[in-house]
Amino acid sequence: MSGIRALIVDDSAVMRKIVERTLRQGGVDMETVAEAGNGEEGLALLRRQTFDLILCDINMPGMDGLEMLQRMQAENLARQVPVVMITTESSESHVRSALMYGAQAYIRKPFTPEQIQERVLPLVTKA
Protein backbone atom coordinates (compact mmCIF):
# COMPACT_ATOMS: atom_id res chain seq x y z
CA MET A 1 0.00 0.00 0.00
CA SER A 2 1.51 3.34 -0.99
CA GLY A 3 1.44 6.23 1.45
CA ILE A 4 -1.89 7.93 1.80
CA ARG A 5 -2.75 11.54 2.49
CA ALA A 6 -5.08 11.72 5.47
CA LEU A 7 -7.14 14.55 6.90
CA ILE A 8 -8.13 14.28 10.58
CA VAL A 9 -10.80 16.71 11.78
CA ASP A 10 -11.30 16.86 15.56
CA ASP A 11 -11.31 19.74 18.01
CA SER A 12 -9.04 17.78 20.34
CA ALA A 13 -5.40 17.81 19.29
CA VAL A 14 -4.88 14.84 21.56
CA MET A 15 -7.54 12.80 19.82
CA ARG A 16 -6.11 13.71 16.39
CA LYS A 17 -2.74 12.35 17.51
CA ILE A 18 -4.26 9.20 18.99
CA VAL A 19 -6.16 8.47 15.79
CA GLU A 20 -3.04 9.06 13.69
CA ARG A 21 -0.90 6.88 15.94
CA THR A 22 -3.48 4.12 15.97
CA LEU A 23 -3.65 4.07 12.21
CA ARG A 24 0.13 4.05 11.80
CA GLN A 25 0.44 1.23 14.31
CA GLY A 26 -2.27 -0.62 12.46
CA GLY A 27 -0.21 -0.61 9.32
CA VAL A 28 -1.68 2.34 7.44
CA ASP A 29 1.18 3.96 5.56
CA MET A 30 0.46 7.64 5.86
CA GLU A 31 2.51 9.92 3.69
CA THR A 32 1.01 13.09 5.09
CA VAL A 33 -1.47 13.88 7.82
CA ALA A 34 -3.28 17.21 7.82
CA GLU A 35 -5.19 18.29 10.90
CA ALA A 36 -8.19 20.54 11.34
CA GLY A 37 -9.90 21.69 14.53
CA ASN A 38 -13.43 21.98 13.13
CA GLY A 39 -15.47 21.68 9.96
CA GLU A 40 -14.54 25.07 8.59
CA GLU A 41 -10.84 24.34 8.84
CA GLY A 42 -11.45 20.93 7.32
CA LEU A 43 -13.29 22.40 4.36
CA ALA A 44 -10.55 24.96 3.82
CA LEU A 45 -8.00 22.18 3.58
CA LEU A 46 -10.22 20.12 1.28
CA ARG A 47 -10.51 23.05 -1.11
CA ARG A 48 -6.74 23.35 -1.36
CA GLN A 49 -5.44 19.80 -1.11
CA THR A 50 -6.23 16.29 -2.23
CA PHE A 51 -6.70 13.53 0.36
CA ASP A 52 -7.14 9.77 0.28
CA LEU A 53 -8.90 9.45 3.63
CA ILE A 54 -10.91 11.76 5.90
CA LEU A 55 -11.49 11.02 9.59
CA CYS A 56 -13.97 13.35 11.22
CA ASP A 57 -15.47 14.03 14.64
CA ILE A 58 -19.05 15.32 14.96
CA ASN A 59 -19.18 17.61 18.01
CA MET A 60 -16.80 20.48 17.39
CA PRO A 61 -16.93 24.20 18.05
CA GLY A 62 -18.00 26.18 15.02
CA MET A 63 -18.94 23.95 12.12
CA ASP A 64 -19.57 20.38 13.27
CA GLY A 65 -18.71 17.23 11.38
CA LEU A 66 -22.15 16.61 9.89
CA GLU A 67 -22.35 20.11 8.50
CA MET A 68 -18.89 19.67 7.04
CA LEU A 69 -20.09 16.56 5.22
CA GLN A 70 -23.13 18.45 3.93
CA ARG A 71 -20.94 21.24 2.64
CA MET A 72 -18.61 18.74 1.01
CA GLN A 73 -21.57 17.30 -0.88
CA ALA A 74 -22.86 20.73 -1.83
CA GLU A 75 -19.46 21.84 -3.10
CA ASN A 76 -18.71 18.49 -4.69
CA LEU A 77 -15.54 18.16 -2.64
CA ALA A 78 -13.64 14.89 -2.27
CA ARG A 79 -16.54 12.81 -3.59
CA GLN A 80 -14.44 9.69 -4.06
CA VAL A 81 -12.60 9.96 -0.74
CA PRO A 82 -13.70 7.62 2.07
CA VAL A 83 -14.95 9.44 5.14
CA VAL A 84 -14.88 7.83 8.58
CA MET A 85 -16.74 9.42 11.48
CA ILE A 86 -15.08 8.97 14.89
CA THR A 87 -17.31 10.41 17.58
CA THR A 88 -18.92 9.97 20.98
CA GLU A 89 -22.35 10.38 19.37
CA SER A 90 -23.92 7.07 18.47
CA SER A 91 -27.63 7.79 18.10
CA GLU A 92 -29.47 6.42 15.12
CA SER A 93 -30.12 9.93 13.87
CA HIS A 94 -26.42 10.79 13.89
CA VAL A 95 -25.49 7.56 12.14
CA ARG A 96 -28.22 8.00 9.59
CA SER A 97 -27.22 11.60 8.88
CA ALA A 98 -23.55 10.73 8.55
CA LEU A 99 -24.27 7.93 6.10
CA MET A 100 -26.68 10.09 4.15
CA TYR A 101 -24.04 12.76 3.79
CA GLY A 102 -21.48 10.30 2.51
CA ALA A 103 -19.63 8.76 5.46
CA GLN A 104 -18.57 5.19 4.82
CA ALA A 105 -17.85 4.11 8.35
CA TYR A 106 -18.85 5.24 11.82
CA ILE A 107 -16.75 4.51 14.87
CA ARG A 108 -17.87 5.34 18.36
CA LYS A 109 -15.46 6.70 20.97
CA PRO A 110 -14.06 5.14 23.03
CA PHE A 111 -12.63 2.82 20.43
CA THR A 112 -10.12 0.04 20.48
CA PRO A 113 -7.11 0.08 18.13
CA GLU A 114 -8.54 -3.04 16.52
CA GLN A 115 -11.83 -1.30 15.73
CA ILE A 116 -10.08 1.59 14.03
CA GLN A 117 -7.82 -0.69 12.07
CA GLU A 118 -10.60 -3.09 11.05
CA ARG A 119 -12.81 -0.35 9.78
CA VAL A 120 -10.31 1.97 8.17
CA LEU A 121 -7.84 -0.43 6.57
CA PRO A 122 -10.34 -1.87 4.06
CA LEU A 123 -11.26 1.63 2.97
CA VAL A 124 -7.71 2.77 2.30
CA THR A 125 -6.79 -0.53 0.70
CA LYS A 126 -9.73 -0.13 -1.65
CA ALA A 127 -8.73 3.44 -2.39
Binding site: S91, R108, K109
Partner: protein, 256 residues
Protein backbone atom coordinates in the same frame (compact mmCIF):
# COMPACT_ATOMS: atom_id res chain seq x y z
CA UNK B 1 -35.58 0.39 0.06
CA UNK B 2 -35.98 -0.89 3.59
CA UNK B 3 -32.98 -2.87 4.66
CA UNK B 4 -31.96 -4.63 7.83
CA UNK B 5 -28.51 -3.59 8.74
CA UNK B 6 -26.16 -5.04 11.26
CA UNK B 7 -24.99 -2.97 14.16
CA UNK B 8 -22.17 -4.19 16.28
CA UNK B 9 -22.75 -3.80 20.00
CA UNK B 10 -20.20 -2.19 22.27
CA UNK B 11 -19.03 -5.56 23.45
CA UNK B 12 -18.33 -6.59 19.88
CA UNK B 13 -21.00 -9.29 19.94
CA UNK B 14 -23.15 -9.60 16.88
CA UNK B 15 -26.89 -9.75 17.10
CA UNK B 16 -28.26 -6.27 17.44
CA UNK B 17 -30.24 -5.23 14.41
CA UNK B 18 -31.77 -2.00 13.37
CA UNK B 19 -34.29 -1.45 10.66
CA UNK B 20 -33.56 1.62 8.62
CA UNK B 21 -34.72 2.93 5.31
CA UNK B 22 -31.49 2.97 3.37
CA UNK B 23 -30.43 2.71 -0.18
CA UNK B 24 -28.50 -0.50 -0.92
CA UNK B 25 -25.15 1.24 -1.24
CA UNK B 26 -25.47 2.79 2.19
CA UNK B 27 -26.82 -0.41 3.70
CA UNK B 28 -23.70 -2.25 2.59
CA UNK B 29 -21.59 0.11 4.63
CA UNK B 30 -23.50 -0.55 7.82
CA UNK B 31 -21.32 -3.47 8.79
CA UNK B 32 -18.57 -0.91 9.23
CA UNK B 33 -20.38 0.76 12.03
CA UNK B 34 -19.77 0.60 15.73
CA UNK B 35 -23.09 1.69 17.10
CA UNK B 36 -24.83 2.38 20.33
CA UNK B 37 -23.90 0.47 23.46
CA UNK B 38 -26.47 -1.55 25.33
CA UNK B 39 -28.86 0.51 27.39
CA UNK B 40 -28.38 0.64 31.13
CA UNK B 41 -31.03 0.07 33.78
CA UNK B 42 -30.34 3.27 35.68
CA UNK B 43 -28.17 6.40 35.58
CA UNK B 44 -25.60 5.02 37.99
CA UNK B 45 -25.16 1.82 36.05
CA UNK B 46 -24.88 3.83 32.84
CA UNK B 47 -22.17 6.01 34.35
CA UNK B 48 -20.23 3.04 35.70
CA UNK B 49 -20.37 1.31 32.34
CA UNK B 50 -19.22 4.44 30.52
CA UNK B 51 -16.31 4.96 32.91
CA UNK B 52 -15.16 1.36 32.71
CA UNK B 53 -15.35 1.37 28.94
CA UNK B 54 -13.24 4.53 28.60
CA UNK B 55 -10.68 3.45 31.18
CA UNK B 56 -10.26 0.01 29.72
CA UNK B 57 -10.28 0.88 26.02
CA UNK B 58 -8.53 4.22 25.94
CA UNK B 59 -6.45 4.37 29.11
CA UNK B 60 -5.54 0.72 29.49
CA UNK B 61 -6.75 0.73 33.10
CA UNK B 62 -9.17 -2.16 33.56
CA UNK B 63 -9.44 -1.94 37.33
CA UNK B 64 -11.69 0.90 38.40
CA UNK B 65 -13.80 0.73 41.53
CA UNK B 66 -16.72 3.00 42.24
CA UNK B 67 -18.56 4.18 45.26
CA UNK B 68 -21.86 6.02 45.46
CA UNK B 69 -22.07 9.56 46.70
CA UNK B 70 -25.63 10.39 45.82
CA UNK B 71 -28.37 9.66 43.36
CA UNK B 72 -31.52 11.72 43.03
CA UNK B 73 -34.06 11.26 40.27
CA UNK B 74 -36.84 13.85 40.32
CA UNK B 75 -40.24 13.16 38.83
CA UNK B 76 -39.59 15.35 35.79
CA UNK B 77 -36.74 13.14 34.73
CA UNK B 78 -38.24 9.77 35.59
CA UNK B 79 -40.31 9.47 32.37
CA UNK B 80 -36.99 9.32 30.55
CA UNK B 81 -36.10 6.19 32.40
CA UNK B 82 -39.02 3.78 32.04
CA UNK B 83 -37.11 0.87 33.50
CA UNK B 84 -36.84 2.76 36.75
CA UNK B 85 -40.52 3.39 37.22
CA UNK B 86 -40.85 0.89 40.04
CA UNK B 87 -37.91 2.43 41.85
CA UNK B 88 -38.61 6.07 41.33
CA UNK B 89 -40.39 6.58 44.63
CA UNK B 90 -37.41 5.28 46.48
CA UNK B 91 -35.00 7.36 44.52
CA UNK B 92 -36.94 10.60 44.37
CA UNK B 93 -35.79 13.32 46.64
CA UNK B 94 -34.18 16.70 46.81
CA UNK B 95 -30.48 17.28 46.51
CA UNK B 96 -28.97 18.46 49.75
CA UNK B 97 -28.22 22.09 49.09
CA UNK B 98 -27.39 23.53 45.72
CA UNK B 99 -23.67 23.21 45.76
CA UNK B 100 -22.84 19.62 46.50
CA UNK B 101 -21.73 18.93 42.95
CA UNK B 102 -18.18 19.11 41.71
CA UNK B 103 -16.21 21.85 43.32
CA UNK B 104 -17.76 21.75 46.77
CA UNK B 105 -17.53 18.02 47.00
CA UNK B 106 -13.91 18.25 45.92
CA UNK B 107 -13.41 20.67 48.80
CA UNK B 108 -15.07 18.26 51.20
CA UNK B 109 -12.70 15.58 50.04
CA UNK B 110 -9.78 17.78 50.94
CA UNK B 111 -8.42 18.13 47.44
CA UNK B 112 -5.95 20.99 47.30
CA UNK B 113 -5.69 21.57 43.56
CA UNK B 114 -8.66 19.97 41.87
CA UNK B 115 -9.10 20.22 38.14
CA UNK B 116 -12.51 19.79 36.58
CA UNK B 117 -13.70 19.09 33.07
CA UNK B 118 -17.25 20.27 32.46
CA UNK B 119 -19.48 19.31 29.56
CA UNK B 120 -22.92 20.75 28.99
CA UNK B 121 -26.03 18.85 27.97
CA UNK B 122 -28.56 20.51 25.68
CA UNK B 123 -31.79 19.41 24.06
CA UNK B 124 -33.84 16.92 26.08
CA UNK B 125 -31.70 17.66 29.11
CA UNK B 126 -30.11 20.84 30.30
CA UNK B 127 -27.23 20.52 32.69
CA UNK B 128 -23.67 19.35 32.95
CA UNK B 129 -21.35 16.45 33.49
CA UNK B 130 -18.44 17.39 35.75
CA UNK B 131 -15.35 15.28 36.19
CA UNK B 132 -13.02 16.40 38.99
CA UNK B 133 -9.76 15.07 40.31
CA UNK B 134 -6.60 16.23 41.98
CA UNK B 135 -3.96 17.39 39.57
CA UNK B 136 -1.83 14.27 39.97
CA UNK B 137 -4.82 12.06 39.22
CA UNK B 138 -5.54 14.19 36.16
CA UNK B 139 -1.95 13.71 35.06
CA UNK B 140 -2.19 9.96 35.56
CA UNK B 141 -5.36 9.66 33.52
CA UNK B 142 -4.07 11.91 30.76
CA UNK B 143 -0.71 10.20 30.70
CA UNK B 144 -2.39 6.87 30.17
CA UNK B 145 -4.38 8.27 27.28
CA UNK B 146 -1.41 10.03 25.71
CA UNK B 147 1.98 8.65 26.39
CA UNK B 148 2.44 4.94 25.99
CA UNK B 149 2.02 3.56 22.50
CA UNK B 150 -1.33 1.84 22.35
CA UNK B 151 0.17 -1.57 21.85
CA UNK B 152 2.34 -1.16 24.92
CA UNK B 153 -0.21 0.15 27.37
CA UNK B 154 -1.19 -3.13 28.89
CA UNK B 155 2.34 -4.47 29.07
CA UNK B 156 3.55 -1.26 30.68
CA UNK B 157 0.79 -1.48 33.21
CA UNK B 158 1.51 -5.11 33.87
CA UNK B 159 5.28 -5.01 33.95
CA UNK B 160 6.24 -1.68 35.38
CA UNK B 161 3.61 0.05 37.38
CA UNK B 162 2.06 -2.42 39.73
CA UNK B 163 3.12 -2.66 43.30
CA UNK B 164 2.60 -5.70 45.50
CA UNK B 165 -0.81 -4.40 46.42
CA UNK B 166 -1.78 -4.26 42.78
CA UNK B 167 -1.83 -0.48 42.65
CA UNK B 168 -0.41 1.07 39.53
CA UNK B 169 1.64 4.23 39.75
CA UNK B 170 2.40 7.14 37.58
CA UNK B 171 6.05 6.91 36.55
CA UNK B 172 6.80 10.56 37.25
CA UNK B 173 7.36 12.01 40.68
CA UNK B 174 7.55 15.46 42.08
CA UNK B 175 6.29 18.67 40.51
CA UNK B 176 4.59 18.35 37.20
CA UNK B 177 2.88 20.72 34.88
CA UNK B 178 -0.59 20.09 33.58
CA UNK B 179 0.15 21.40 30.11
CA UNK B 180 -2.35 21.91 27.31
CA UNK B 181 -1.98 18.37 26.05
CA UNK B 182 -2.75 16.82 29.44
CA UNK B 183 -5.73 19.09 29.98
CA UNK B 184 -6.98 18.42 26.46
CA UNK B 185 -6.70 14.71 27.19
CA UNK B 186 -8.59 15.13 30.47
CA UNK B 187 -11.38 16.94 28.62
CA UNK B 188 -11.55 14.18 26.03
CA UNK B 189 -11.84 11.54 28.74
CA UNK B 190 -14.77 13.46 30.23
CA UNK B 191 -16.27 13.85 26.76
CA UNK B 192 -16.16 10.11 26.12
CA UNK B 193 -17.62 9.30 29.53
CA UNK B 194 -20.45 11.84 29.19
CA UNK B 195 -21.21 10.58 25.70
CA UNK B 196 -21.14 7.00 26.90
CA UNK B 197 -23.53 7.83 29.73
CA UNK B 198 -25.95 9.61 27.42
CA UNK B 199 -25.85 6.81 24.88
CA UNK B 200 -26.74 4.26 27.56
CA UNK B 201 -29.75 6.16 28.88
CA UNK B 202 -33.07 5.17 27.32
CA UNK B 203 -34.49 8.13 25.46
CA UNK B 204 -31.35 10.23 25.57
CA UNK B 205 -29.30 8.72 22.77
CA UNK B 206 -30.90 11.17 20.37
CA UNK B 207 -32.14 14.68 20.95
CA UNK B 208 -29.58 15.38 23.64
CA UNK B 209 -26.44 17.15 22.53
CA UNK B 210 -23.08 17.54 24.25
CA UNK B 211 -20.97 20.65 24.36
CA UNK B 212 -17.22 20.61 23.96
CA UNK B 213 -15.40 20.31 27.31
CA UNK B 214 -14.35 23.26 29.44
CA UNK B 215 -11.50 22.86 31.93
CA UNK B 216 -11.65 24.65 35.29
CA UNK B 217 -8.80 24.70 37.80
CA UNK B 218 -9.45 25.08 41.51
CA UNK B 219 -12.59 24.62 43.54
CA UNK B 220 -13.85 28.14 43.93
CA UNK B 221 -16.84 27.84 41.67
CA UNK B 222 -20.40 26.56 41.73
CA UNK B 223 -22.70 25.23 39.07
CA UNK B 224 -26.24 26.52 39.08
CA UNK B 225 -28.49 24.32 36.97
CA UNK B 226 -32.20 25.16 37.05
CA UNK B 227 -35.36 23.16 37.52
CA UNK B 228 -35.85 19.62 38.73
CA UNK B 229 -32.59 17.87 38.78
CA UNK B 230 -31.23 14.47 38.10
CA UNK B 231 -28.18 14.11 40.26
CA UNK B 232 -25.68 11.29 39.99
CA UNK B 233 -22.42 11.56 41.88
CA UNK B 234 -19.87 8.79 41.94
CA UNK B 235 -16.31 8.46 43.10
CA UNK B 236 -14.03 6.22 41.08
CA UNK B 237 -10.82 4.73 42.42
CA UNK B 238 -7.99 3.82 40.05
CA UNK B 239 -4.25 3.40 40.38
CA UNK B 240 -4.36 4.72 43.94
CA UNK B 241 -6.14 7.88 42.87
CA UNK B 242 -9.71 9.10 42.94
CA UNK B 243 -11.90 11.05 40.63
CA UNK B 244 -15.37 12.42 41.10
CA UNK B 245 -18.01 12.31 38.41
CA UNK B 246 -21.18 14.31 38.80
CA UNK B 247 -24.08 14.56 36.41
CA UNK B 248 -26.70 17.12 37.21
CA UNK B 249 -29.38 17.96 34.71
CA UNK B 250 -32.86 19.33 34.36
CA UNK B 251 -35.51 18.09 31.94
CA UNK B 252 -36.49 20.61 29.31
CA UNK B 253 -40.16 21.53 28.92
CA UNK B 254 -40.84 19.43 25.88
CA UNK B 255 -40.30 16.14 27.66
CA UNK B 256 -41.89 16.92 31.02
Amino acid sequence: MRDRAFWESASGKKGKYLSMALDPAIARTMNMIVAAPLLAANPTQALDAAVHEVFERMLGIPDVESSDVSLVIPSAISPLIPSLSENVEILMGTPKGSSSVGASLAQQMGWQQPVSAILGFAGKLSGACTMSAESEAVAVMSWHLLSPPLSLRHSIMRDLKRTDSGVCEWPHRGPYLLDDALLDAFGEICNMIAGGWKNRMPGLDSGCALSVPTIVSGSDYELHPVGDRLLVERIYHFCGHRMLLAIRCAATDDIV
